[in-house]
Symmetry: C2
Subunit: 491 residues, 2 copies
C-alpha cells in the first residue's frame, strides 16, 4: 500500500479515509456500517479510555454493566426517547438457527421466535432505569453515580469510519439525584470533564454550550455539548451531557423518600463520548503526510530508527538505542526501537510519519563517534542534532512543547474561524467561502432553525455558555434575538 | 435486606445466589438470562481485566475490536463451528421500529427486513478470520497476536448469575501463525497464562489438561483447559485455549507466502476467559458469612470503621484514621474509611464481611489512648490488637499471608478431593458421597464417555498434562486404557 496520501486541499474526505486506512486505525468490515478497529487505532482508544475512566472515578463515579438487549416494551416507556431512536434499531426476533430440511444450509428456526422482540441498545437509559427502580428507595441511596463502557448500535444509513458507524464503542454515564439542582450541577460537571479531556489530552479546543431544543437528546430537558472545529471548517460534536429531569424516573417509576419523609421522583443525567473522538482527533491535527498525534495519546511517543551498513554498525547502534530506550522507559515514555532488517530507513520514516509518532530518533555510525543523535518532530517536521547526554530531558521537554503547540495551532485555527455575521447573505457567503462557526442572532424558534438548516445545511451547534446577553435581530427572520448562537455545518 | 446467608451445607446453590445478590455483585435483569453487573462486582472484574490485559501484552498481544454482528453466511463457513453454536444464537432480522397504524404502540417495521440475517457473536472466530484474510499475505505478517475484550451472547436455557448467562463479558484471543508448531506453543502458552492468573491472583488452584474430543471447542483440533474445584465438589472450567489447526484459515481462505516462497494456509489459536471467573472466585473462597476475596482482587483491601460515642471522639478517631489511610495509600493499598453516621459499627462489620474485604481496622477512643488499633482478618475471622506504628508493615504482611493462605486452603481442599477409583461402583460411590475429581482409567472412546455422563452426570474434565503413562482397564468398559483422566460433575 502506497504511503502517499491524497492532500487535504484536493479531497478532504478522501484524505481522511486514507489516513484511517493507511495509518492502520480502522477499516470497514463485511457487515454494513460496522468497522474493525485495528490494533494501532485501538491502542489510541485505550489511552483515551484509561484517562477518561480515571477522570470519572476521580469525580466519584463507579463502573457497572447492563444488558446489551432491551425489551421493546421498556424502550417504549419514554415517548420522546423512543421517537428519537426507533428508526435506527437493530431488532432481535429469534434465538436459534437450524439446518434447513431442504438443504438450503443454515436458516433461522421459526419455532424459536421471541414473544417480545429485543432491541440492541442504541443507548441504555431504559434498561438502566429499570434497574434503578430496584436500587433507589431513600435519599441515602442518592446520588447514584454510574458509568458503563459498552458497545451500542444505531442503524445509520450513511456511515464513515469512526465518525458515524452503526456499532460504536462509548461510555455512558447515568446518574440519579435527589434534587433538580444537583442533577444540573452533575450534567454541567461532566461537560467540564469532557472539555478538560478534549483540551488537555486531545489538544483539541472546544466550545462549551447548550443545544437548541431541536438538537437535544431524545428525552432530555437540556443537552450540554462540547463542539470542536475540524480543518475543513466543519464542526464536530465531541461529547454531550444531558439533564433528563424526571422523565426516566417517571417512565420507570423510580421514587425516593427524602430526608423529610416525602416521596418524589428522582432527577437524572446521562452523558457520553464515543469512538467518534478518534475521528475528531485525526481531523484536528493531521496533515498531508499522515496522522499527527498529541503525545498524551500516542501509543508510541518516540521511535528509534537505526542507520547502518554492516552487521557491526547495527550492533553498535543498537547498543546505544537500548541505552536510550531504558532511560526513556524509566521516565514512563513509550518508545519503540524499530530494528527490522526487512525495511529500509526511508520506508520507516514514512511509516512513522503516517502513524503520527510524535518524535523520531535516528542513530547512525557518525552519531556514535560524535555522541549525538538526530531528533525529528512529527508536528512541524523539523530536525535537530542533539547531544546524547541531554536526550531524556530534551525529549520530555519536546513532548510537552508538541502537546502545547498542537493545542495552540488548533486554537488559533478555531478562533480564526468564528465569524460574526449580521445578515443572511453574509451568513451564506461566509459559510460557503470560509466555513467554521458563524456567530449569528437567532429568534429562538425551531422553525427558523429548521429553515436555515434546509437552505444551508448549517445547524445550531450550540448556544455558548459564555454568550454575552446582546439584543439583536435574527439573521434570518428579522425577529428579536437575545444573543448570538453558533451555526456551522457539522459532522 | 438481611445480611444473614443460607449456609453452604444447608443449600449450596441458594448460598451462592444470596452471596451474589447480598454482596452487591450482580442481579438478574428484566431480560431473560441477562445479568446486571453491579458496581462492586464490576470493580472485581475490572481488577481481573487489568491484570490479564497486562499479561497478554507482556506476551506480545495487542487489543483490537471486531463487529458485534456476524452475517449468517460467515458463521456457516466452518461446519463444526456452526453446529456447535447454531442452537444458541440471537438473530437480528430487522433494523427499524415504527408506530403501529392500528395504535398498538411500537412495532417492528416489516419493510426494514434484512436481506441476510445477522447473528450476535457467540464467539468471534468467523468475523475475525474474515479480516485476517486481508491482513495476512506473507510470513512477515505473522505471527498475528490479537486479543479482544467484548460481550458475547449464547442463548442458554438455564442460566445462573456469572456462571452461565446469555450475555457475558470476556476476552478472546485470536492468533495466526506460520507453522503448526508455533500455534501449538501459543495455545499452550496462553493456558499457562490463565493458570498463573488463576493461582497467583485468584488464589485458585487449577489442573492443566486437554479436553477429550467430545468436550472440545467447536472447530478446534485440541482444547487446553484449566479446571478448578468448587467447595461443593463440582468442577468448574475456568479458561480454555484452542489449537484450531488450519480449519478457519481454510474456511476463510487465509493463505501466506512463506520465506521459501510457498503458499500455505496459516495456523490458528483462540483462547478466552469470561465473567464466569467471578463465579469461580466466589465459590472457591467464600464462607457462610459471605464473600471472601483474595487481596490481589479486592477492590477495597482494608476498611476502617470508627467507634465513637460523641462528636469529639469521632473527630479524634477520624484524624487517626486519615493518618493510617494516607500511609496505606502511599503503599498502593486500597483503603476505605467508612465514617457514615447513618449506620452502626455492628452493621458495618457485617457489611464488609459480606463483601469480603480482606482486612478491617477498628479504631475506638481507647485505641487513641493506647496507640493501638484492632485488626480483623476476613479469611479466618481472627482479631488482633496491633501497635499503630507497626500498622503499615503488619498490613502489607497480612495481605500477603491471606493471599497465600487462601490458595493453600483451596489447594488442600482440591488435593483432598482427587480420588483414584478403579471400578464403576467405586466411581459412583465416590462421586455421590464425596464429589471432587475422580481419577479413572478410560478406554478413550466417545461412546464410553457419553454413557458415563448419562449414567452419572460426570464428564471428563481433562486429561491432565502431567498424567503418567499407566496401563490400565477402563473403569466402565473394561477395555484397555493408557492413562487416567479426571472425571467430575461440573458447572
Amino acid at each position: 500500500m502506497s504511503k502517499k496520501l491524497t492532500s487535504r486541499s484536493e479531497d478532504y474526505s478522501k484524505w481522511y479515509n486514507e489516513i484511517v486506512m493507511k495509518a492502520d486505525l480502522a477499516e470497514n468490515s463485511g457487515v454494513r456500517g460496522m468497522m474493525v478497529i485495528k490494533p494501532y487505532g485501538y491502542a489510541i482508544w485505550e489511552k483515551m479510555q484509561s484517562i477518561l475512566d480515571k477522570m470519572f472515578k476521580d469525580t466519584g463515579h463507579e463502573n457497572a454493566y447492563f444488558p446489551l438487549l432491551i425489551p421493546k416494551s421498556y424502550f417504549s416507556k419514554e415517548a420522546s426517547h423512543v421517537d428519537g431512536f426507533a428508526k435506527e434499531c437493530a431488532v432481535v426476533t429469534h434465538y436459534r438457527l437450524k439446518n434447513d430440511e431442504n438443504g438450503k444450509g443454515i436458516v433461522v428456526d421459526e419455532t424459536a421466535k421471541l414473544e417480545e422482540e429485543l432491541i440492541i441498545r442504541p443507548t441504555s437509559e431504559t434498561i438502566i432505569w429499570d434497574s434503578y427502580r430496584k436500587w433507589i428507595q431513600s435519599y441515602r441511596d442518592l446520588p447514584l453515580l454510574i458509568n458503563q463502557w459498552a458497545n451500542v448500535l444505531r442503524w445509520e444509513m450513511r456511515t464513515r469510519l469512526f465518525l458515524r458507524t452503526a456499532e460504536f464503542l462509548w461510555q455512558e454515564g447515568h446518574t440519579a439525584h435527589a434534587t433538580k439542582g444537583e442533577a444540573i450541577i452533575e450534567a454541567e460537571k461532566m461537560q467540564g470533564v469532557y472539555a478538560t479531556f478534549a483540551e488537555k489530552f486531545m489538544a483539541m479546543p472546544v466550545i462549551k454550550g447548550t443545544k437548541s431544543v431541536n438538537e437535544r437528546f431524545a428525552g432530555a430537558l437540556e443537552t450540554y455539548t462540547i463542539e470542536a472545529l475540524m480543518q475543513d471548517g466543519k464542526a464536530l460534536q465531541a461529547g454531550t451531557s444531558h439533564f433528563l429531569g424526571q422523565n426516566f424516573a417517571k417512565a420507570f417509576d423510580v421514587k425516593f423518600t427524602s430526608k423529610e419523609g416525602d416521596l418524589d421522583y428522582v432527577w437524572a443525567t446521562s452523558w457520553g463520548v464515543s469512538t467518534r473522538l478518534m475521528g475528531a482527533l485525526i481531523m484536528t491535527h493531521s496533515d498531508d503526510h499522515g496522522l499527527v498525534l498529541p503525545p498524551e495519546l500516542a501509543p508510541i511517543q518516540v521511535v528509534i530508527v537505526p542507520i547502518y551498513k554492516s552487521e557491526e554498525e547495527l550492533t553498535a547502534v543498537s547498543a546505544m538505542a537500548h541505552e536510550i530506550m531504558d532511560e526513556l522507559k524509566n521516565k514512563d515514555i513509550s518508545v519503540k526501537f524499530d530494528d527490522r532488517t526487512t525495511q529500509k530507513p526511508g520506508w520507516k520514516f514514512a511509516e512513522y510519519e503516517l502513524k503520527g509518532v510524535p518524535l523520531r530518533i535516528v542513530i547512525g555510525p557518525r552519531d556514535l563517534e560524535k555522541g549525538t543523535v538526530e531528533l525529528a518532530r512529527r508536528d512541524n517536521l523539523t530536525k535537530t542534532i542533539i547531544e546524547k547526554h541531554t536526550i531524556t530531558e530534551t525529549i520530555i521537554r519536546t513532548l510537552d512543547e508538541i502537546q502545547e503547540s498542537l493545542f495552540d495551532k488548533a486554537h488559533q485555527f478555531r478562533n480564526d474561524h468564528i465569524t460574526e455575521v449580521n445578515s443572511f447573505e453574509e451568513f451564506k457567503t461566509v459559510l460557503e467561502e470560509k466555513g467554521g462557526f458563524l456567530s449569528a442572532h437567532w429568534d429562538g424558534s425551531a422553525e427558523t432553525e429548521e429553515t436555515i438548516k434546509n437552505l444551508t445545511k448549517a445547524t445550531i451547534r450550540c448556544i455558548p455558555l459564555d454568550t454575552p446577553s446582546e439584543e439583536g435581530i435574527c439573521v434570518f427572520s428579522g425577529k428579536r434575538s437575545k444573543g448570538r448562537v453558533l451555526f456551522a455545518k457539522a459532522y
